[in-house]
């Protein structure tokens, strides 16, 4: 499989994020530069507190950078106001949460259909689309289950379906398998990878698990708010399997 390297979908230049707590100044991100191309699956790994979530949140437009540029599909998102950011997310971004974050009052289909509601899609169409998406993640039977009536793995698959249903260009996932056991994690990872490949989506995933990171095409190693190295995994897939 060969990626068209000439089609960058995310460009990050000289990105900084500072938090000041009292007189303390925490450098959560300390000068980050990289480019991600369309259809790539990238994982971000690093120790706890290294700045992975901070980076992801900024890419998704949930937090403002202190300094630097983030260009996604041609939009300088560091320049957008909150209203525009919501619109940007609605049109370009899907999000998978670590704690699933399904709405407890809604069943699986309704949860998946929710982002379509915000796009003003009619009830009939959005429920049909959501049902199709649930089939794709293998939850045909659990369609009308409430989140509390599903296992963690099933809930996260609903989460994946919800992120995918709006057909976003980019999917962000912050430790999507953090609350799952290793077998279920692998299942969910394979599912995500499969769909992302099929639909040529860009997936950016944060994890602190090296094994899960190795599902990705490229692995960004972060420490103390800086990129330590970017590991190209496409040619080493065989090698990785041997290592395990």
């Amino acid at each position: 499989m060969s990626e068209p390297k000439s089609d960058p979908v995310i460009q990050v230049k000289d990105l900084y994020k500072f938090y000041s707590i009292g007189s303390n100044r925490v450098k959560a991100l300390n000068g980050v530069d990289f480019t991600i191309n369309r259809g790539e699956f990238c994982s971000i790994v690093g120790t706890s507190g290294s700045g992975k979530s901070t980076l992801l949140n900024m890419l998704a437009g949930l937090e403002k950078p202190s300094k630097g540029q983030i260009v996604i599909s041609g939009h300088h998102i560091e320049r957008l106001n909150e209203n525009q950011l919501v619109k940007f997310r609605r049109e370009h971004v899907g999000f998978i949460f670590q704690s699933f974050n399904l709405l407890p009052t809604m069943n699986a289909v309704e949860n998946v259909a929710l982002p379509l509601t915000f796009r003003g899609i009619s009830k009939k169409t959005r429920l049909a689309k959501a049902a199709k998406m649930l089939d794709l993640v293998g939850l045909k039977k659990q369609r009308f289950h409430k989140p509390t009536q599903m296992s963690g793995g099933q809930q996260q698959r609903v989460g994946v379906a919800r992120a995918l249903v709006v057909q976003p260009e980019i999917i962000f996932a912050d430790e999507p398998t953090g609350n799952l056991d290793s077998n279920t994690s692998a299942e969910v990872m394979n599912l995500m990878k499969k769909i992302v490949r099929e639909q040529n989506l860009t997936l950016i995933m944060v994890t602190h698990d090296n094994h899960l990171a190795s599902f990705a095409d490229r692995i960004f190693h972060i420490r103390d708010g800086k990129i330590l190295k970017i590991e190209d995994n496409t040619n080493k897939e065989v090698l990785n399997d041997e290592e395990i």
Binding site: L62, E82, N83, R90, E91, F95, P115, T117, S122
Partner: protein, 457 residues
């Protein structure tokens, strides 16, 4: 998001917290009811007052009295202005005025009516056929007397109580029993009352005097309504003025007619002078104008207009005070809405964050919360209105008697009255209060950070 989606989403959010929603709605119900019922008391007061005024002389009526025959009201200086007599000429002049619907002279004739042992001292108001017709006197039976027939009466529905038994000298008010008078039957009318009294007790010198002639009056009409009901015609006896004049001339021949001025030598004038005239104005708003114009002619003019207006103003003040008291409950309800919304936003911080990450626009989030608050206002206002109508009905039932005593009106007019526009306004106001109360919470929800969705507790 479509409007319908917003609506169902906010409704289902309210439904999720049924108990709390109900309690908040209860507050709005109480608030709306207290305002509406308080205001309804004011409207009831005004309405029953107007009804009362209407029944005791009308709102568009101006009563005119000749300048010198009647006692003066307040203005002592009126003695300096030229006083004129109410003659046909003057009546004509008044009828030419703007906004005067019609005018009729009133010729007062005092006479004695007799039937069997019963007798009545009657003060007959003789008016023109046109006036009697246009006054729209509700008749139980009979017709308006015309100029071409013999003198014929319209009895007020309370006139029967004026008959006394000549044997026992007892009235209805003494016995509590209606006199056995056949109102449809014939009456003897005695026009020359002076002669009648002289014939009974002797004249000033104690000589016997021959009893005056009696005339038969029949085919009397009756104003509709029972003896207990009261309207502006209840205590009057009406007759046709032309027939009455003819009759009086016949009775008194060359003598002076009682009530008519005479020359120094005691000879009657060749024309009629009335001491009263009845003027109808076409609209309540012009009554004071017409009244003023008539006074400027040197006549006495009276109407209810000024009195009614100032009383209505007083009632408005009372009503505002009542409304103010009622609105306290609604203010408390508004605070409770704001409190409920605030709590639900704290509880749903994460949920709000999630829908924000999923692309729900800020405007939609604000609308969601405003709609929830408006819903509370709407439901509370609606139920509050139903309660208000119920309460108003109960008040009218229970207090009808007291109200009747207080204002002297019949039980037909309640103490509490909710005009339709008030209920519409109250509903809109309740929704508006909900929206105002929900405004700050909604802004707060809108400004919540989407990051709250990601942070795991």
């Amino acid at each position: 998001m479509s409007f319908l989606d917003l609506l169902t989403m906010s409704a289902s959010n309210l439904w999720r917290r049924k108990l709390r929603t109900c309690l908040t709605i209860l507050g709005v119900i109480i608030g709306t009811t207290s305002i509406v019922v308080m205001l309804s008391l004011g409207f009831g007061l005004k309405r029953s007052y107007l009804k009362q005024v209407e029944s005791s002389g009308g709102l568009t009526t101006v009563n005119v009295y000749s300048g010198n025959d009647y006692y003066y009201w307040g203005d002592e200086d009126s003695s300096s202005t030229e006083k004129i007599e109410l003659t046909d000429e003057v009546i004509d002049e008044i009828s030419q005025m703007e906004h005067v619907k019609f005018v009729s002279p009133i010729l007062n004739a005092e006479l004695i009516l007799k039937q069997g042992v019963y007798q009545c001292y009657a003060n007959v108001k003789a008016m023109s056929y046109d006036a009697l017709e246009k006054m729209n006197i509700p008749l139980e039976y009979g017709s308006i007397p015309t100029s071409d027939e013999e003198v014929r009466f319209i009895f007020g529905n309370n006139i029967i109580t004026d008959f006394s038994n000549t044997k026992t000298n007892e009235y209805y008010w003494d016995t509590g029993e209606l006199p056995d008078v056949d109102l449809k039957g014939d009456f003897f009318a005695i026009y020359d009352t002076d002669a009648y009294f002289s014939s009974m007790w002797g004249d000033s010198e104690g000589n016997k005097v021959q009893a005056p002639k009696k005339y038969i009056v029949s085919n009397t009409s009756l104003v509709s309504g029972g003896v207990d009901e009261y309207n502006e015609y209840s205590y009057n006896i009406y007759a046709n003025i032309d027939a009455m004049k003819k009759q009086l001339k016949k009775v008194f021949k060359n003598k002076a007619i009682p009530g008519q001025p005479t020359t120094k030598s005691g000879k009657p004038y060749s024309y009629w002078v009335y001491n009263e005239a009845y003027v109808q104005v076409d609209d309540f708003n012009y009554v004071t104008d017409v009244q003023k114009a008539i006074s400027d002619m040197g006549l006495q003019a009276h109407s209810n207009a000024e009195y009614v207006e100032s009383t209505q103003k007083q009632f408005s003040t009372i009503q505002m005070a009542l409304g103010g008291i009622g609105s306290v409950a609604l203010i408390v309800a508004a605070i409770s809405i704001a409190n409920t919304m605030m709590m639900s936003i704290y509880e749903r911080t994460k949920e709000i964050g999630i829908i924000k990450v999923l692309g729900c626009s800020l405007g939609n989030i604000r609308s969601l919360f405003l709609m929830e608050a408006a819903f509370i206002g709407f439901i509370g206002g609606f139920l509050g209105l139903i309660l208000s109508y119920g309460l108003s009905a109960v008040l009218n039932k229970v207090l009808a008697r007291y109200a009747g005593d207080m204002f002297g009106t019949g039980s037909s007019v309640g103490i509490s009255y909710i005009p339709l526009w008030l209920s519409g306004l109250a509903l809109i106001f309740a929704i508006f209060v909900g929206i105002i109360a929900g405004f700050l919470p909604a802004i707060r929800a809108m400004k919540l950070s989407p990051l709250s969705a990601i942070k795991t507790e």
